[in-house]
């Protein structure tokens, strides 16, 4: 159960090696150790993450999860709930891809679409079924400001994020009567392995900052937050710029 001040007892991280995802787990565990299920493709990095959380007093299990095999997702989610209620689920997996290759190479485009959109949807529906049965819970979906207004410079990635954003906002509305809170988090540029080597954009953040914002949003039962918060105002300006001008902006 999530208590009155927003402490969960259990957490499922889909994308068990995601830096932002793990930073969210750390943030919750920093206040009270909890039971954690890390779902990802088996790897050394996954085992290391599990070990590190155990050292913090968490009870950790790992679960094999491949975002590109949607036919397995219902079973994976079922396994994650087999040890009891899951209070918080973080949907943190995703790929950035190479923007120019992604709109010219069918296979690469498909990878982005499957990992960033198809999988969050199949996982989301399987999750929703479980959460409706348990009558409580919180879901954090990591979206992106890139999905709020899709730009020429990374429109394949942006369009997948527009998809996940819309899906989880809608899922949140659908699950509200069932006691489930969905929080969509829209980060901007975050310094992670996914963006390593890229030139940092304005308002760049560390994973810990995004995690702090996400955790506070769960505690406050908010539907939508930006990370950092200033993105909300930047995006509300960008959203309203006429297409003819938007196209010419160096973004």
């Amino acid at each position: 159960m999530i208590d009155a001040v927003g402490n969960p007892q259990s957490l499922l991280l889909l994308g068990g090696t995601s830096e932002i995802g793990l930073a969210i787990v750390d943030r919750f565990a920093g206040q009270r150790p909890l039971r954690v299920v890390l779902a990802a493709r088996p790897s050394e990095r996954l085992d290391e993450a599990a070990e590190r959380l155990r050292a913090k007093g968490c009870t950790v299990s790992t679960l094999a999860f491949d975002a590109r095999r949607p036919e397995t997702h219902e079973e994976v989610v079922g396994k994650a709930f087999s040890d009891g209620d899951i209070d918080v689920t973080v949907v943190a997996f995703g790929v950035l891809g190479e923007a120019e290759r992604a709109w010219q190479d069918v296979e690469h485009a498909r990878e982005l679409a499957e990992v960033n959109f198809v999988a969050p949807v199949t996982v989301g529906v399987a999750l929703a079924n479980r959460l409706r049965q348990q009558g409580h819970g919180a879901v954090v979906a990591l979206s992106s400001v890139a999905g709020e207004r899709v730009r020429r410079s990374n429109f394949v990635y942006g369009s997948t994020k527009a998809g996940i954003d819309g899906f989880y906002l809608g899922l949140g509305e659908a699950l509200k009567p069932h006691g489930v809170q969905v929080t969509v988090v829209r980060p901007g540029f975050v310094h992670t392995k996914m963006t390593k080597g890229m030139k940092a954009a304005p308002l760049a953040a560390q994973p810990e900052q995004v995690a702090e914002i996400a955790v506070t949003a769960v505690r406050r039962r908010q539907d939508l937050v930006w990370a950092p918060g200033a993105w909300r105002f930047v995006m509300s300006v960008l959203r309203h710029i006429p297409r003819a001008i938007f196209r010419k902006l160096p973004i």
Binding site: V5, D85, H136
Partner: protein, 451 residues
């Protein structure tokens, strides 16, 4: 049977979850749903005045017991009444006063049911002399997990189950009916002594001095002042007024139910309205408005018992994020813990205006019953981002002093801390496992505390 999906919270309006709510069932239907319960289980609910998650059951079934509201038998000679679990203390008081009968234990509100009063083993301002609610219960009719109805008594057959139910938070079964020993009174008024104390030492020494002379005793303390003024308080203590104590104009109708409610708070208050500034001002005014010393004042029920009931739905002033009550008990000798906790509360980010300190008397036989001989302190605090760590620190202090938190108010304790606070838990668990081997009775609280 009318069953609907509903979002429920406790009185603090925190941590909402969704359950199927069963309303207006009869006894046979209740027995059927208990027998047929699935893995999410069943929990009864009264008027929802527990602050936390005690009468919520996410994904399961919640039995709305308020339709069981009959008073079945009253013996005006002995003061023994048999009532349904869903009867509120408010209703019982209104109906019993004309007979000169008084409810022996009253908490800060009359809007609780008999079932809830037993499940939380509630206490009032007279605990130091008269104990908690279940001390005055003579028998309980309990619907258990097997669908049977058992009658249990405090020292006859089924006494173990009786005491596991006293303070058992509804987890041993559904209280259907109870037989309660009422007190006889000459009036519905109170004779009250009010004193203002300079600081915490002054308050505690006055309480130690002569508390036992009074039937009722409670201190409101200023939780915003720090330093020398910390713990300054308004101490109100009194007795049920005798006919001769009343002024002539009240003597004509001494048993009149005199408990006014003025208004209901509309649901429009934003979170954060009660902040450090407004609450400090409130604390100052509340302290100042009390007389330095006044003896033998006649007060009515609302003035003396339920100053909060004068406004209905007052929990709404805390806004949508809600609030919590933090109430602990520590044994005598832990005065230092009381001081330290007050320091943490008044100097920390927390703001509170319902701040109560009182002495508890002897505990009863309930392994999960809250009161223990010593001090109890209660504050109510709106939920803010940094409240969690502050209260975790207080838990630690209370634990180290051998104290405990009150489950009817708790909404955030960990399973580990709870286990250390209630050393007789294993005893309770044994009775519960025997009477409910399938684990039919579940609540959000039982899941949180891993009961």
């Amino acid at each position: 049977m009318p069953e609907k999906l509903g979002r429920l919270t406790g009185w603090g309006r925190t941590a909402p979850t969704t359950a199927r709510i069963l309303e207006r069932a009869d006894r046979a239907e209740l027995a059927d749903v208990v027998r047929a319960a699935d893995g999410r289980g069943v929990i009864p609910r009264g008027l929802g005045r527990s602050y936390g998650d005690a009468s919520q059951n996410a994904g399961g079934l919640v039995l709305d017991m308020t339709a069981f509201d009959q008073i079945h038998h009253v013996d005006t000679e002995t003061g023994i009444v048999t009532v349904d679990a869903g009867v509120s203390l408010d209703k019982l008081m209104r109906q019993m006063l004309p007979h000169g009968l008084w409810i022996p234990v009253l908490p800060g509100t009359r809007q609780v049911t008999i079932g809830g009063a037993i499940a939380a083993d509630i206490h009032g301002k007279n605990h130091h002399v008269e104990g908690s609610f279940c001390n005055h219960v003579l028998a309980i009719e309990l619907l258990t997990a097997d669908g049977e109805i058992r009658t249990v008594t405090p020292d006859g057959p089924g006494s173990e189950l009786f005491w596991a139910t006293a303070g058992g938070m509804g987890l041993t079964g559904v209280v259907l009916r109870a037989t309660v020993q009422l007190k006889s009174v000459e009036s519905a008024y109170f004779l009250v002594d009010t004193e203002r104390t300079r600081d915490l030492d002054d308050l505690m020494s006055r309480l130690m001095d002569n508390d036992d002379q009074y039937t009722y005793s409670v201190a409101w303390f200023d939780a915003a002042s720090t330093g020398a003024k910390m713990g300054r308080a308004v101490l109100t203590r009194g007795w049920s007024a005798k006919l001769d104590d009343l002024p002539a104009k009240l003597r004509n109708d001494p048993l009149k139910f005199n408990a006014p409610q003025l208004a209901t708070v509309p649901p429009v208050f934003p979170s954060g309205l009660l902040n450090k500034l407004t609450v400090s001002a409130f604390n100052e005014v509340w302290y100042r408005k009390a007389p330095k010393e006044r003896r033998g004042e006649v007060q009515n029920i609302t003035q003396f018992f339920h100053p909060l009931d004068i406004v209905g739905e007052w929990n709404r002033v805390y806004g949508p994020r809600g609030f919590l009550q933090y109430q602990y008990a520590v044994p005598y000798g832990a005065e230092d813990t009381v001081r330290k906790s007050m320091e943490i509360i008044s100097s920390g980010g927390a703001v509170s205006f319902l701040n109560v300190l009182k002495r508890f008397g002897a505990a009863n036989g309930g392994p999960l019953s809250f009161p223990m001989p010593g001090w109890t302190l209660a504050v109510d605090i709106p939920i803010t981002d940094d409240l969690g760590p502050l209260l975790d620190k207080l838990d630690q202090l209370v634990l180290e002093a051998g104290g405990r938190l009150y489950l009817a108010k708790d909404s955030r304790l960990t399973a580990d801390a709870f286990r250390s606070m209630y050393p007789r838990l294993a005893e309770w668990q044994k009775v519960r496992d025997a009477v409910d081997p399938r684990g039919v009775f579940n609540s959000d609280l039982s899941r949180r505390l891993m009961l």
